[in-house]
Amino acid sequence: MLKKTCLNSCHIEAGGKMVDFGGWEMPIHYGSQLDEHLWVRASAGMFDVSHMTVIDLVGPDVKPFLRKLLANDVERLKTSGQALYSAMLNPAGGVLDDLIVYRLAEGYRLVVNCATREKDLAWIEACSEAFEVVVTTPPNLSILAVQGPSALSVLSSVLDSAQANLLSQLAVFESGFAGDWFLARTGYTGEQGAEIVLPNADAPGLWQALLASGVRPIGLGARDTLRLEAGMNLYGSDMDEGVSPLACNMAWTVVHNDRDFIGEAAVQAARAARVQPRLIGVMLKERGVLRAHYPVYSADARVGVLTSGAFSPTLQCGIGFARVSAVTESLFVEIRGKQLPLEPVSLPFVRHGKPVYSVIS
């Protein structure tokens, strides 16, 4: 029996093609994944991401605990409402999960992935034993992401005045509460927008109001191509417990100082190693589609693999992430026995609707 979000009937009413996504019945698209992708780049779309996990932490030791638990440093969150993207590592320096941590007035809120929920909670519980911390998963919450160039203006037109006022004061990667609604200027598309954590009872009302204002529902298919164009990793594809943050383009999120976070020794050892794989953007120079697991070659040597791949609706070509041991001038991907040239590029591919990549030379 699949779990359902409280927007399930809204998805079906909107023509959602429902699939099993990590045990949840979720919409893969509502007719055309390509149209949904382009609509988010041009206007505004909404994503039901209620399957993701909200974890709240409070207690006298919550800050030292999170400074130990996370590879990014919550000390950087100077005021209530600020947010940070971080990896949570195992002692071997592999990525247990990627998450966003929000500083609240009291304590912190983590939003972690859906498929990693039980593993993350068990790990956090185990690591917190020596700390005076209370870990809770607040029940009966929905999460709706609204993303696109007109997302904020449409949102403010459907929110009540206190909510709209809060939203207008938030900068990117800031958050706050308006009553029991939590509004955050975060997202997974490379566009303007917000993610709203709200009581289940309020979610269908917000959905209908946004729908009536021209915001279209967006399925998981377009969510994946949007995040790929935006240069954002997908847990389980681009990184997992066996992958160092240095090998998945997350080095920028790892902060070394005197706090000694879990996995730090292993990350430092990896940094010292002379050769280590890295994750880069690649574009297919010929017509076609890139897909995860395709092998990557330089001359005759296999140098890596695609961890994600798709046809980019914005760029109209195959794009992907490649984990490679070396970036050379001539990279090739093997597709159905044929080697086709790849162009290594900087990430992201697309931001605010525009191509922003440059060729790595």
């Binding site: 893969i28 698209h29 055309s32 994944q33 390509l34 149209d35 298919g221 191509t225 017509r287 076609g288 589609v289 897909r291 798709a310 046809f311 159905r336």
Partner: protein, 131 residues
């Protein structure tokens, strides 16, 4: 419910084949197939002049979801391909039985199409697919 046509024969792998008045065979994928694939973003077509066996992989259709092989329904020679699909692969979604055809064959055996699934057989197969 996906559309089917009665003037074509089908493969269980969801290709259709239509015998034209001039004895050639036009090949495409069914409405059921395009709906299952989702938005088509790339089609790799065979070289004209290639001779193919029945059941041989001759083309590839790539959608937002997956890459799928397209099989020759009958043995013969490729005598034409639908160049429209190079620039407008979405034509496969829009008109799978008409403008979204893939390639044309000169069949080695004029009667080979009779071996393929009838529209009734194919509708039964799709109905089973949907459950």
């Amino acid at each position: 419910m996906a559309e089917t046509r009665d003037n074509v024969r089908y493969l269980a792998s969801h290709e259709w084949a239509r015998l034209e008045d001039d004895g050639t065979v036009t090949v495409g994928i069914s409405d059921h197939a395009q709906d299952a694939l989702g938005d088509v973003v790339f089609v790799e077509l065979p070289e004209t002049g290639r001779s193919v066996q029945a059941g041989e992989e001759v083309a590839v259709v790539e959608s937002v979801k997956a890459a799928s092989d397209i099989y020759a329904p009958v043995a013969g020679t490729v005598i034409g391909v639908n160049d429209v699909l190079d620039a407008a692969p979405e034509t496969v979604n829009d008109a799978p039985f008409d403008e979204g055809w893939f390639f044309k064959l000169q069949p080695a055996d004029d009667n080979a199409l009779n071996e393929l699934l009838t529209p009734e057989d194919y509708r039964a197969l799709c109905a089973a697919d949907d459950h």
